[in-house]
């Protein structure tokens, strides 16, 4: 099953074809010098497997009479059929060859690898150079077609590296992709690293040959049943062979992705997206995290050269991670579909192994369960992608995406194939350690471990226990503990099932799980612990003596610079609409807000703003604020047009949280001017903000607002509902 064996097969067939054409020309002398046999496709590339079809074209000059062509063809094809060769044949004049390639890009791609076998060599040379010239000339026009067909093939055939049952030929990173790369390089619009490409292709061909022999037919489906036989033919164990194949597929797939990306940028310069410039003098070992998050959020590839630079030997990562790195990691995990290629690049460059060594246990590892469509590592990443669509459903989206990434981390070799619950228990311990290493606090790490340990609890109970028995919901409620955890667990379960495959989240199963969750939620609402009011959580109390930092007559701005952000403190006389003006001033100045706390005491408003910018010019900011306060700057015109809401927000009235204020919770995609919109809507409704608690978790903003009427009382229920509806309207696309 080696390149030498393939070459020998082709050489032997070449000889047979040469002798057959020579005999035909002896019988029909007018064909001499006017015919040639051309190998195309896999035979053209000299990579025939033991059971491959043989693609041969009888090429002739346009003036050769049809009856002579037909006779030559019969004299060549029939003996081959008698030999049992599986022949895919065609008879074409040199002009036809060129027009077929011009009309059909698939034929053109096949002709990139034409090879002269027998007969008049100059015919083949001239056709080949004409077809290649046409290919280069029409490449820009054909690229969209080619790319659409490539995308359609990948949709159908999946990914050689990650699909549960990939196709060695058609899947991403498979043999057809290697051929496509050659065709793309032949356009002269782009180049690809030839040596690794040829090495990957040769490795794939070796395995493909063994697969054909083991299957007894030219099937390219990499089915688990055949793996032991193929491994035996290769003299290796099944698992290492599976890993090797997937790794080769992954690297070939990356080359194709990158080549397409370069081609698209070249043919359409306006598609270029300017990413944050990498500061190559920086020594921050976490520099790769924000770069990866930026790339994933924008849906662009992280270039291998950048990844290689990030992966150079550098200082070891501190344990625990600093806050800024953790925030960026959450942003990366919650970025959506852009995470998939970026994570692959980070992993291929060795960066994932550096910050998450536990990943090696699940990397490119096949799942033992037939419902899974992906390997365990890709399934985990896809679960993050699913979670990115459901951030609004949970109070802690950062924990949701981390648990999504780690929920199967226990499926390493040690417990693979063991009882299903084992991987949850082992994974929970690992996830707890990882969460602490990444800088999450004790409560958060414990919650992540809980989610990993119990990610099978809801589906297992929903289909195996009697849901009509109230004891079932009570038992699950006792295990879960509170509503926030239930919300997280239910969302994780759905994301896990949806990413596993269509059979894992059928309407039947979803109905069972939803029913159980509803009943457990009802139990927890009756008997579970009441959430601690955010106002009482501590850690944000305003200074007791406000007069020392601000006054009743003017606004004082004080900034504290940090290495990864800054903190701005604002004090001054309170009035309805002040927070809207402050948030709008910051948004208009281009200052992103990560977190904010605001409160009022004795008529003095105090607010603290954690900003992305490392330095803040408070003098200029004060001037901007003054212009907003005296209505010289119209924030509504500037901010409404500049950044309209892109996705719908979720707004809830948290009933029963406070007796003296109405508590509103806002969950929305983080974007410029979001806070200004929130506070302006409250001000327009005449609501006074007693305190505000604003956080950003990954790409989601979470705000809890304690509001009162002008007399300092909680709003009546109908007014609270109206205010929540107004906020939802203001924060959703118009």
């Amino acid at each position: 099953m080696t390149a030498a064996a393939r070459a020998e097969r082709c050489r032997s067939l070449d000889e047979r074809l040469r002798s057959l054409l020579a005999e035909a020309v002896r019988a029909l002398p007018e064909a001499a010098g006017r015919t040639a046999l051309v190998a195309v496709g896999g035979y053209g590339r000299s990579e025939m497997s033991p059971l491959s079809d043989v693609d041969v074209v009888l090429l002739h000059t346009p003036d050769l009479p049809d009856d002579v062509c037909a006779e030559v063809a019969e004299l060549v094809w029939y003996p081959l059929w008698d030999d049992g060769v599986s022949l895919d044949h065609a008879v074409r004049s040199t002009d036809e060859m060129r027009s077929v390639a011009a009309a059909d890009w698939k034929a053109a791609v096949g002709m990139v690898d034409t090879r002269h076998v027998a007969g008049e060599q100059s015919l083949v040379r001239s056709v080949r150079s004409a077809v290649l010239a046409d290919w280069r000339r029409g490449a820009r026009r054909r690229l969209p077609q080619l790319r659409a067909a490539w995308a359609e093939r990948l949709d159908r055939a999946g990914d050689l590296a990650y699909s549960a049952v990939p196709d060695l030929k058609d899947s991403r990173g498979g043999l057809r992709d290697a051929v496509l790369l050659r065709a793309l390089v032949a356009t002269w619009l782009v180049d690809a690293p030839h040596r690794p490409l040829e090495e990957h292709r040769a490795a794939l061909l070796d395995i493909r040959d063994s697969l054909h022999v083991a299957a007894g037919r030219p099937s390219d489906r990499w089915t688990p049943e055949l793996l032991p036989d193929v491994a035996r033919l290769h003299g290796v164990e099944p698992e290492p062979l599976d890993h090797q194949l997937r790794d080769v597929g992954r690297r070939t797939g990356q080359l194709v992705d990158l080549t397409w990306s370069r081609l698209l940028h070249r043919s359409s310069p306006r598609r270029r997206i300017r990413t944050r410039r990498i500061d190559r003098s920086a020594t921050d070992p976490f520099a790769f995290v924000p770069a990866a998050a930026d790339a994933a959020e924008r849906g662009v590839l992280l270039g291998p050269s950048a990844a290689a630079w990030f992966a150079r030997p550098s200082a070891t990562l501190p344990d625990p991670w600093p806050e800024h790195a953790r925030r960026d990691l959450v942003r990366l995990l919650a970025a959506g579909p852009g995470l998939v290629p970026v994570w692959e690049t980070l992993d291929c460059a060795g960066l994932v192994g550096r910050f998450l060594p536990e990943w090696s246990g699940i990397r490119l590892r096949r799942s033992q369960s037939a419902v899974h469509r992906f390997t365990i590592d890709r399934h985990s990443v896809e679960t993050c992608v699913e979670a990115s669509h459901r951030l609004r459903d949970v109070a802690r989206p950062d924990l949701l995406v981390l648990a999504a990434l780690l929920h199967d981390i226990g499926k390493g070799p040690a417990v693979d194939g063991a009882d299903r619950d084992d991987h949850s228990t082992a994974g929970a311990q690992t996830a707890d350690k990882i969460a602490r290493r990444l800088g999450f606090d004790d409560d958060s790490a414990t919650t992540v471990a809980f989610l990993v340990r119990n990610h099978l609890l809801l589906p297992g109970t929903a289909v195996r226990r009697d849901l009509d028995d109230p004891a079932t919901a009570r038992a699950v409620a006792a295990e879960v503990g509170d509503l926030d955890r239930l919300e997280l667990l239910a969302t994780l379960v759905e994301c896990d099932a949806r990413s596993a495959g269509p059979t894992a989240w059928t309407g039947w199963r979803a109905g069972q799980v939803h029913r159980l969750v509803g009943e457990v939620a009802a139990v927890l609402r009756r008997t579970g612990p009441q959430p601690t009011p955010v106002e009482h959580l501590g850690g944000w109390e305003p200074p007791r003596r406000l007069g020392a930092t601000g006054g009743r007559d003017g606004y004082q701005l004080v900034a504290e610079a940090g290495s990864h952000g800054s903190r701005l403190l604002v004090t001054g006389p309170d009035r309805i609409g002040l927070l809207a003006d402050l948030a709008g001033t910051l948004a208009a100045a281009g200052l992103g807000v990560r977190a904010a706390r605001a409160a009022t005491r004795d008529g003095v408003a105090w607010s603290q703003w954690d900003l992305d910018a490392t330095t803040v010019d408070t003098g200029r900011l004060k001037l901007r604020l003054d212009r907003v306060l005296d209505a010289t700057t119209d924030l509504a015109t500037r901010l409404d047009i500049a950044s309209p809401p892109a996705t719908a927000a979720r707004v809830r009235v948290l009933s029963g949280t406070s007796a003296t204020a109405t508590v509103l919770e806002v969950r929305a995609a983080d974007q410029p001017a979001l806070l200004w919109r929130v506070f302006r809507t409250l001000a327009d409704a005449g609501a006074d903000v007693r305190s505000a608690h604003v956080d950003t978790l990954g790409p989601q903003a979470q705000d809890v607002l304690y509001v009162t009427d002008r007399h300092g009382r909680a709003l009546p229920q109908h007014a609270a509902d109206r205010l929540a509806a107004a906020l939802k309207r203001a924060l959703s696309p118009h």
Binding site: V463, R464, R465, D466, L467, D468, T506, G507, W508, R509, G511, Q512, H514, R515, V517, G518
Partner: protein
């Protein structure tokens, strides 16, 4: 030969399978099914949205057995699936003309 089809509550499926395996039933086809009988289904509320669940989730089990085993298999399924409450399910039996094991070509009882 007969085809025994049982529709049981999902949470009783493990009990039914254990009982059948203990008896010696070698294989069966299991489907996640939905339907309703005399209980006519019910309505559920999930995350504030009410949705109609007139179809109650069930597990459908199909087993082809030799004529001599039919009564035992029906009895085993009924006993294992019974809770005594509404919605326990049904078991029914149909005649089977022939069975062929695709891999070996065996036919009739040998293919069971």
């Amino acid at each position: 030969m007969k085809l025994v089809t049982a529709v049981v509550k999902p949470h009783k499926w493990d009990d039914v399978r254990d009982a059948l395996e203990t008896f010696g039933v070698a294989g069966m086809t299991v489907t996640e099914a939905s339907g309703y009988g005399r209980q006519k289904g019910h309505t559920e509320v999930y995350r504030g949205a009410e949705y109609d669940v007139t179809l109650v989730p069930k597990i459908r089990v199909e087993i082809v057995v030799d004529d001599d085993d039919v009564a035992d298999v029906v009895g085993i399924v009924a006993k294992a699936a019974q809770t005594g409450k509404i919605g326990d399910g049904k078991v029914w039996v149909q005649p089977v003309d022939s069975v062929l094991r695709i891999r070996t070509g065996e036919q009739g009882a040998a293919a069971l």
